[in-house]
Amino acid sequence: MEQSLGPGSSARGTWSVRRWVKTLRYYVELAEADELARRYFVMNAFDGALTVLGVIVGAFVGGEAEPKVIISAGVGASLAMGLSGGIGAYVAERAERSRALKELETHMFKDLQDTLIGKASRAAAYWVAFVDGVSPAIAALIPLSPLIFARLTPMPVDLALSASIVLNLVTLFALGIFLGKISKESIWLHGLLTAGAGALTAVLLFLFLRA
């Protein structure tokens, strides 16, 4: 008989994505990494969106910028942010989780590496790294989509740039709604706060680059 490790992995038989996701969710919940992942998601998505906003506003003020150059700069920045976020979070989280596990092992007088607790601890580090890596990349790629569209179609570059800035603010507003749902407070207030931060950044960049 195989070891039954929690309800998520107790069922045996063929491997399925559904069961894998269920097990991962169970591990993340057990390791109390869901709250941490949420925090990382918002922080890094915000980072990603604002970085690309900087690139787009810079190109908009500079004028005559080729969509190809903006897309390359934006995608490059989002990939670098994704990789740096993912690797950085994994290394930091693994170290913290490893320390916590060793501390627990001294309390238990038992090796916990191959137990449910050890597996959950490792899964939590992977999950947090994944969220930390993917969130800035997604938040950066969404506002770049009008420029990608402009490159493939005869859409005017100025219109694509304006659409990118608007889409960026919409992404920030969506992040605010997510925050409002988490805090169980007004989603509109949080949405306006995050979108306002984006708008303020855009205005400051605009004034600074124009000067």
Partner: protein, 104 residues
Amino acid sequence: MESSSVIDMASAQIRRLLIDALKPREASIIDLSQTICSVEGVEQCDIVVTEVDVRTETVRLTIQGPNISFDQVTKVLEGNGVAIRGVDEISVTKAKAPPKIAPK
């Protein structure tokens, strides 16, 4: 002699176990009891937390069933990060031999 003792061991079935164990606080007793109940031969599992520490909890598990496999229960407990401190009570019964059918 050896073979007969093996047969005797096999016919002696564990019906009830009282285990004193230490578990990490993160491990939920709800999940743990459900996982133990999924072991073959286990019908009921009761867990009582008797002591709470900063990182650990002392628990008393009462496992009941028609034929509990101690090895499997141990594997499940260890797999869930539970350290068995001792078996405090055990109830074992000898399986009744199937009734012989008289030849017609």
